[in-house]
């Protein structure tokens, strides 16, 4: 029985092969002027909590964020997790071109997140509206509504890229060596 329970440990076998993280995009992720933000100095080292906000995304980015918590990517192993309330969050991970109808809700979510906080625009439309740029119903990027610190490229970015980039962004902003 004991052997059955600890089968994986005894056999040194992993239930599922975990994904290795790819190299993160370098400093280009950070938006201009955000690099030297002292306020983050050492604020985030371990145990980072993310509140994901859909600001009008097509839902592909959300599914990739959901995939981060599955047994293959298992983002919790890096001390990162998603939380239900912005009041518990260190990072706002915003997806979508910031649709006009979500502008108010996004602003309120941002106000409800305690300082210091990092805002990451995730996905190509979060940066400048992407394919929806120029449509009347989108504001054209998350930074039109709330101040953004960094950006994760991709349409949608792959789960491993999201993790690697979040870790890199936190490292850069917190000045962790």
């Amino acid at each position: 029985m004991i052997e059955r329970i600890f089968y994986n440990i005894i056999r040194k076998k992993q239930a599922l092969p975990r994904k290795k993280l790819p190299a993160a995009a370098p400093d280009a992720l950070l938006l201009p002027g955000k690099k030297e933000k002292e306020v983050f100095g050492g604020a985030f080292t371990r145990s980072i909590r993310i509140r994901q906000v859909d600001a009008g995304s097509c839902n592909a980015c959300e599914w990739e964020c959901t995939a981060l918590t599955n047994p293959v990517y298992d983002i919790q192993r890096f001390g990162i997790d998603f939380v239900a309330s912005p009041r518990h969050a260190d990072i706002l991970l915003v997806t979508g071109p910031a649709s006009a109808a979500m502008a108010n809700a996004l602003k309120k979510t941002w106000l409800a997140t305690p300082d210091p906080k990092i805002v990451i625009a995730c996905g190509d439309c979060a940066r400048d509206g992407g394919i929806y740029k120029g449509s009347y119903a989108v504001t054209g990027g998350v930074d039109k509504v709330v101040p953004v610190d960094a950006f994760i490229p991709g349409c949608p970015p792959k789960p491993a890229d999201i993790t690697a980039n979040i870790m890199q962004i936190v490292k850069l902003l917190s000045k962790i060596k």
């Binding site: 995304s57 839902n59 599914w63 959901t66 599955n70 979500m102």
Partner: protein, 515 residues
């Protein structure tokens, strides 16, 4: 001339009766209803309805033209009293074109929230996107009232638009008696991105990318339906190999959606192991998608006139991976159905009656789990489906369990179709080019429908070009647009904690419906 599209103009006084005759109590299905601003061609505002039978491969397209012409009032007779399925379509037309469906029983704004000024109609051709943007009042709270239920012990639970999980935005207002939901009022369209007008702005070719981004996990269904509409409009033939690849990838999309949904329902019952196993299996299929096409969401494959990626290059290797996925899936589904505590939560939860599904024009899983045999793959064979032999499935009970087991049935069917195509390709029986090679050109003054059976149900596109071959109207219709109005009926009488489970069993797209 497209064989299965029959266009007909009807007079204003006959419009309602003619629609009611085609609908015939729900046996004729309302596939699509939309308006178009054709004032530049002298036809005024037009309203189109598209009906078809599940038994016959023929679309009856009625057009009511000249609405609001010559100083007349911009209104048309509402068909909702006879055809309940038109309910949302007519409210959408009223919001986007300012055409009033006279006689509509419940007319109030659907798409446009309070931040849009009341006299701006985005889909009219004489107002530009920039002009609309200037009129927006982003800080405006939406104050239009919710349905209020009065009585002793009734209280309201507001939820959203930002939800607790990693999901799309929408506001739900529950009126509950104790734990039991009495009424659900859903305010959606928070992710409205103006896609319909944006199609006109960016042109037909660029529109393929936009169609892939209407609804994330239905990317392939949307772009396939859109490209099909473009091909039918210009009379472009689709090579057999491209048609087989589209069919293969449509089934791959159904596979990852259905298996993912079966797993997600476990999250609704707090069954962590089931959820984790479903998510791992879904991940495996997404990885296969990436291997086949370079995109986990099958994006960048479709193009008018063919496909850009040859997903049938190594059918033997794909077949091996599919066999392994099938084995893993079999063990997963028997594990789920042997969990009594899981199945108990699913049975009798969120029952959608056949009558409601029929009247409101449900599509996809929602329709077939409530006893409506409606599957475009057999009723209106497109792409390679006409050359394959397969069975479509229905379940009678309409509860969450029926929707889960129907997905399981359809996973079996999808695997059979995928295997069949891969075996044919392996035996070199699907050869030829993946596109016709030439640059696709839009035909002038032309129109067509495109449609596929996507993972969530039927997806429709209507495209119409002007004299210069530029888009005059592109109307996408996601499956979820038909299925959202069913939610208040399915949750009535259930407990509030079962709402997420019922919602997951329908797996509705907010972005697709909001467009």
């Amino acid at each position: 001339m497209i064989e299965n599209e029959i266009y007909r103009d009807v007079a204003k006084e006959d419009f309602r009766a003619e629609c009611a005759r085609l609908f015939s109590g729900g046996n004729g299905r309302l596939r699509l209803m939309f308006a178009a601003d054709l004032r530049e061609t002298g036809e005024g505002f037009c309203v189109y309805t598209v009906f078809s039978h599940a038994q016959e491969d023929r679309f009856e397209i009625l057009r009511l033209k000249g609405i609001g012409g010559e100083g007349g009032k911009p209104e048309f007779p509402s068909i909702t009293p006879e055809v309940p399925a038109a309910h949302w379509y007519e409210r959408q037309i009223a919001d986007m074109f300012g055409l009033v469906p006279s006689g509509h029983p419940d007319l109030h704004p659907l798409v446009l929230h309070g931040l849009y000024p009341p006299d701006v109609y985005p889909l009219r051709r004489d107002i530009s996107s920039e002009a609309i943007s200037r009129h927006l009042a982003l800080e405006n709270e939406d104050l239009s009232p919710f349905m209020e239920v009065k009585g002793e012990g009734i209280y309201e639970i507001p939820v959203g638009p930002v939800h607790a999980g990693i999901i799309e935005p929408g506001h739900f207002r529950f009126s509950a008696v104790g734990e039991t939901i009495y009424y659900l009022d859903a305010r959606l369209f928070y992710t409205h991105k103006g896609a319909e007008k944006h199609f006109e702005r960016i042109g037909f070719k660029e529109g393929v990318k936009l169609s892939e981004r209407i609804s994330g996990v239905s990317s392939f269904a949307h772009s396939a339906a859109y490209c099909m509409a473009l091909e039918r409009m210009s009379g472009t033939a689709l090579p057999a190999r491209a048609s087989a690849i589209r069919t293969l990838l449509l089934e791959m999309e159904r596979l990852y959606n259905h298996i993912g949904d079966i797993g997600n329902m476990c999250a609704g019952t707090g069954f962590a192991v089931g959820y984790a196993r479903g998510a791992s299996l879904k991940e495996r299929i997404m990885a296969l998608n990436h291997q086949l096409t370079g995109s986990r969401y099958l994006r960048g494959v479709n193009t008018p006139g063919g496909v850009l990626v040859d997903a049938l290059q190594d059918p033997a290797a794909t077949l091996r991976e599919i066999e392994e996925i099938t084995e893993e899936y079999k063990s997963f589904i028997s594990f789920l159905t042997s969990s009594v505590s899981h199945v108990e939560r699913l049975e009798n939860a969120g029952v959608l009656s056949r009558a409601i599904a029929l009247g409101l024009g449900a599509t996809g899983i929602a329709a077939r789990a409530s006893g409506l045999n409606d599957d475009l793959r057999t009723s209106h064979p497109h792409f390679y489906y006409g050359q394959l032999v397969f069975e479509t499935h229905t379940r009678m009970k309409g509860d969450v369990f029926a929707r889960m087991m129907l997905r399981a049935d359809e996973v079996g069917c999808s695997i059979a179709i995928i295997r069949s195509i891969l075996h044919k390709a392996n035996g070199k029986r699907i050869e030829g080019n993946i596109s016709d090679g030439g640059e696709w050109e839009a035909a002038a003054n032309s129109q067509a429908l495109g449609y596929v059976e996507g993972p969530r149900g039927s997806v429709f596109y209507f495209v119409k070009s002007g004299a210069n071959g530029a888009p005059l109207r592109v109307k996408p219709r996601a499956a979820s647009f038909c299925n959202w109005p069913l939610m208040p009926f399915a949750v009535h009488g259930n407990i509030v904690p079962d709402f997420p489970l019922i919602n997951k069993s329908f797996n509705l797209s907010y972005s697709g419906s909001d467009a």
